[in-house]
């Protein structure tokens, strides 16, 4: 059996492709569902306020919510231009 395997072109099985795809999508979706729905809107509104005073890109404002057992930390990371 092993001997003949040597001559076969080694294609990854479709099951392992399925597993790999699932691991990626599931990890991604778990991350995004953990965030409350208002975060994108919060980010947008912060951006609107800041851009009244400073020229800023959308990517320069990062909003992240980290949950610990007893409390949640809302982390704002705003990169102002030089």
């Amino acid at each position: 059996m092993r001997f003949w395997d040597y001559f076969r072109t080694s294609k990854p099985s479709t099951a392992s492709m399925a597993k790999e795809r699932l691991q990626i999508i599931v990890a991604h979706e778990r991350g995004s569902h953990a965030q409350p729905d208002y975060l994108p809107k919060l980010q947008q509104e912060l951006l609107d306020v800041i851009s009244k005073y400073v020229q800023i890109n959308r990517d320069d404002v990062q909003v992240q919510l980290d949950r610990n057992d007893s409390c949640a930390v809302l982390e704002l990371n705003i990169t102002l231009p030089e």
Binding site: T14, A15, A18, K19, R21, L22, Q23, E29, R30, H33
Partner: protein, 271 residues
């Protein structure tokens, strides 16, 4: 106090109703007074699988709305006097299931029943949320296939965040993975996700593996839950799953190909 078990999956057509019927029947066969509720309002099917479709007079929504007493709507199973079915309404829509109404019915049932099995509709809409909201345990029915596994992961997220136990900060719902339509032959050929693959992705304890089996369709044709078919592999796998649900430890079966005997190897045949 009774134990409330939801049978859920997110995706449709993976075997929720088949599983609800068999698990409820299995619990009753083991001597526990059990009721199985169809939460799929508008698309009821549990009555067909349990062969009581012609005996439905009142339904779950009638009881919630006070149009019928619970005792009028409960249908006694033909095979076991410890099993009752509460059918879904076929004419209303899912919004007819109010949280207060469902709670009232569950509270009344828990006075007399040991187990309440909730057969969830597919999806993550209101009906599915109501089915899982009050649950103590969840049986997540999954096929070894990408869309089913993804949807199971999604429903697990909802169990974690939107159930009563989550909302009230109580001990979380006990989750069980039930892998159905499993084909060891295709797994061996690398065409199907293995039990280990699905366990690794969903990371919840395995309750059982139900092999792909012709007996499931035969059973639904006749309206006899497949767990009654003790000769079939699927029936035996459900019996094992019920035993594990009751806390017994049973080795998982039907995970590997049956070994072919000399004659089968010589002359073929489908094993």
């Amino acid at each position: 106090m009774s134990k409330i078990i939801v049978v859920t999956s997110g995706k449709g057509g993976v075997g929720k109703t088949t599983t609800s019927a068999s698990i409820a029947t299995g619990l009753a066969l083991r001597g526990h007074k059990t009721v199985v509720i169809d939460f799929d309002v508008g698309l009821r099917n549990l009555d067909l699988i349990m062969n009581c479709e012609r005996r439905v007079v009142y339904d779950f929504v009638n009881v919630i709305n006070g149009e019928a007493a619970l005792s009028q709507a409960l249908i006694k199973d033909k095979h076991s006097d410890k099993l009752f079915i509460l059918p879904a309404s076929q004419t209303r829509d899912k919004d007819a299931l109010t949280q207060e109404g469902v709670e009232k019915v569950l509270n009344e049932l828990s006075k007399t029943f040991d187990y309440i099995v909730c057969d969830s509709p597919a999806g993550i809409e209101h009906g599915a949320l109501m089915a899982l909201y009050f649950a103590d345990e969840a049986v997540v029915v999954t096929n070894p296939e990408v869309s089913s596994v993804r949807d199971s992961d999604r429903i697990l997220g909802i169990i974690h965040s939107k159930s009563k136990r989550a909302a009230m900060g109580l001990e979380p719902i006990k989750e069980h993975l039930l892998l159905t339509r499993y084909s060891p032959e295709r797994v061996k050929r690398g065409e199907m996700l293995s039990v280990q693959d699905v366990e690794e992705i969903l990371s919840i304890p395995l309750l059982g593996v139900i092999p792909e089996s012709q007996s499931v369709l035969t059973a639904s044709n006749q309206g006899v839950p497949v767990i009654h078919d003790e000769i079939s592999d699927a029936g035996q796998a459900y019996l094992d799953a019920v035993a594990r649900l009751l806390g017994e430890s049973k080795e998982h079966r039907f995970l590997d190909l049956p070994k072919k005997g000399f004659f089968k190897r010589m002359f073929g045949g489908t094993a």
